[in-house]
Symmetry: C2
Subunit: 366 residues, 2 copies
């Protein structure tokens, strides 16, 4: 009973911030300027944003979940999360990277609750199983609360991926399940040889882009490592009218930088919770290989798809039949007004189609 | 003036038979059971059938053009050729190959005009330029009339194709333009090595499946080489009621054989007009490479297609955008309810999709 009260007490100050601002081009034709991937159902019937919020049930009170995004996504967010309190939608004055975005959210929460601890989740990840994820988040909350440190989630790499940053871990901070380490180093996306080496040492985890920290701890870190941002956040706090407008202009003039580069790489008080859950950042259509059902020849598909004599293809149909014969390693994605075809190894190049459409003035497809 | 009268006199007995009966599966998803490729516009706005008939203007009087097809295509034919006299539609009692089909058509014309000379054209070929084609047909008519022989059109091979039968030509029969030869041999589709040898000798032409003959000459050849067919055609002639029904049943029981195998290969009185026109039998989607506009990387396309960093692809869009990035040698064909993706080298295997759909009970896509 004591433990229950204790947890309930802690939960009173626990917040979640879901970043729903990204405008991805790699999920064209499904993602569009006005409907980025976090608003798409990638698995099952809920959008990635809805799934992200649903995963927080029991971890964070509903009124302590904030969504941060650009103003143009306000209507979509309200449609996907109708029960979200209006005041829990934080609008970014401008997209200036995750340092500014999360600094703003922390400042917002600190005004409401100086004891607040906030967990940060991108709105476009696929995570399972729920129980393992929630156990990791509870461990991260407890670590941020007791150690007053910055906490990040590291994912045990399953392959020498060059698509993620890595975190080198040092001493074990807590022999819990999941384990918690002190971070010794953040490294940017490596080349394949370096990634292979990381994998062999067993000391590197993928940087998942999910974090937990006390809002005052993050503020102090920003004051130490990213002073211009600290200044703008100070000016925004409680500002109204002309002062607020000026502060918003200053926000828009900040350098665009990730929280990893601005803060995490510089701090020597970063803990890493080793996430044992399945994690997929849904970086491109190639990621669907792990998310959609596969046949015995490695063909992943969703919807009305016929893969005859195909190997390791990925195909999605909304309404129409997608019929493929004799192709390997190809991605085919059907949408109501456009269809994408590209090799799996070139899933990142989908943005070239978006670029070509923009250059060609084909705005209706953007 | 004398020449003109002479030609007019010859034209009085000149007929054309367009074979519109084929049910192709290689043009799925555009061709369907109820709408085979001859009813599709492949180039420009007219269907292949309409184009075939339009090419005969000035060669054959409109009321002397016959269409032969299965009964289920009657409504489509009337829609595509609204000015065709009803009595010029010859309905096959059953599909028993081109020997039976053309024997029936010849019998039909001979009843009307014992002096008739008929030219035969499949409804699904693309041919240009018109003037060269018409000159060849006139030469063929003149040869069939003066020599009382079977005449076929041979196409000078542009590649060692294994998709066509070949005709070996011998002595020059007429030093006209186009040249006319006596055929020495018909050969079935060869392997690549044999096709290469044929190409080197310069004595082999592609068998185009287009013919000209006097109807009485064809009847006599059928009597000599395909007696059961001659018997059925004799029974059908003028038969009514029960006798006609019995004759139609006998027709359906005939062996299914091509006119090439049943007649042309056996006759020693076959002339070959060397067709100098561009000819494409539109055998599969791969043929579109020669029919649709190409970009500088060899990508052929029709409709709203975006080919970024692609080589030698073939793509067709009806309404929606087809966007491809980084693929080579691929065929993509969009249709309102289904899309096809297959490598160019496997264009013949489209029928495997049709087979799979039939097995899976997906009749709406057939």
């Amino acid at each position: 009973m004591g433990a229950r009260v204790g947890r309930g007490g802690a939960r009173a100050h626990r917040y979640a911030v879901v970043m729903a601002g990204g405008i991805g081009t790699r999920f064209w034709p499904h993602s569009r300027r006005r409907r980025p991937k976090q608003f798409l159902p990638v698995q099952g019937r809920f959008s990635l944003l809805e799934d992200t919020v649903r995963r927080l049930r029991g971890l964070v009170d509903r009124d302590k979940i904030f969504i941060v995004a650009a103003p143009e996504f306000r209507p979509l967010i309200r449609r996907h999360l109708p029960s979200l309190p209006v005041e829990n939608l934080i609008v970014e004055p401008a997209a200036r990277g995750t340092a500014a975005c999360l600094g703003l959210a922390a400042s917002f929460i600190e005004e409401r609750d100086p004891e607040g601890v906030m967990a940060v989740f991108p709105a476009d990840h696929v995570i399972s199983p729920l129980s393992v994820f929630q156990r990791s988040v509870r461990t991260a909350f407890a670590t941020a609360e007791s150690e007053r440190c910055l906490v990040t989630f590291g994912i045990r790499p399953s392959a020498p991926s060059t698509g993620f940053g890595y975190i080198e871990v040092g001493a074990v901070q807590k022999r819990s399940k999941p384990q918690v380490f002190w971070a010794t180093r953040f490294v940017e996306k490596p080349n394949v040889a370096t990634a292979r080496r990381y994998l062999r040492t067993g000391k590197y985890l993928w940087n998942s882009g999910m974090f937990v920290w006390r809002v005052d701890v993050l503020r102090e870190a920003i004051e130490s490592y990213e002073a211009p941002l600290a200044g703008v956040l100070g000016a925004l706090r409680g500002a109204r009218g002309r002062a607020a407008a000026a502060a918003r202009r200053d926000f828009a003039a900040l350098r665009s930088v990730s929280v990893d580069v601005a803060i995490m790489e510089k701090s020597d008080r970063v803990a890493v919770v080793a996430g044992d859950f399945e994690w997929n950042d849904v970086g491109s259509w190639a990621a669907m290989e792990e998310l959609w059902p596969k046949d015995e020849h490695g063909n992943a598909s969703r919807g009305a798809v016929l893969q005859v004599d195909c190997r390791n293809t990925i195909a999605s149909s909304d309404r129409r039949l997608v019929a493929m014969v004799g192709v390997d390693d190809l991605i085919v994605v059907d949408s109501p007004d456009a269809i994408l075809i590209c090799p799996k190894g070139k899933a990142e190049e989908v943005r070239r189609i978006v670029d070509a459409l923009a250059r060609g003035g084909k705005r209706k497809y953007l």
